[in-house]
Point group: C2
Chain length 98, copies 2
Amino acid sequence: MELYQLRSFVAVADERHFGRAANRLHLSAAPVSRAVRALEAEIGSTLFVRGAGEVRLIEVGAALHKRAAEILRNAESFGQYARELRAAPRGPTLGGTI
Amino acid sequence: MELYQLRSFVAVADERHFGRAANRLHLSAAPVSRAVRALEAEIGSTLFVRGAGEVRLIEVGAALHKRAAEILRNAESFGQYARELRAAPRGPTLGGTI
DNA sequence: AATGCTTACGGGTCACGTAATGATT
DNA sequence: AATCATTACGTGACCCGTAAGCATT
């Protein structure tokens, strides 16, 4: 499992549409579909029902959506925090000079 | 930023040694070094001091280590939770039949 | 000289985009 | 017919391992 798969999963879950999810990720629809398929294969269960002109989360997918979104938020927060620390890299190295 | 980079970062931080981190990840030392280097480049700051026969986290690295480990734990938990849900996929689809 | 991190190099995997296909309205 | 997800196909990026380089002890 990799973050790019979770990004596609969450984007589709939010947009309820593979095309819009792809636009949001600056990708074409094909890799988004593949990423979700790969995640579903790894999990062993589908996450969406595709049909009726709508993409909808099934129960398993809805439960995992919250967790996936949390992981992505943490990952984004990680990068943001890192940049903040870089802006203020005051203080000695851990354990003193090496 | 991708999970494989965080895996290398956390492994090196835990082991304080690129070689042992590589063994733990079933990789050679080279890709571990590259993954950490890439993360450091993306962040804009080094994370370790290499030298004196020891690898040690600097302050920035220590702060990010905790966050990175948490992300990896969440990612692992995600997979585990997914398998649990697959084992008991009872219940209707969200919003009823499509 | 020995240990260990890093960089160079070549190869194989895989994620991407375009285009064709299938399914549904 | 139109829309949309999926699959096929070729290409480019990139991650990996091996090997050479460099620093420190």
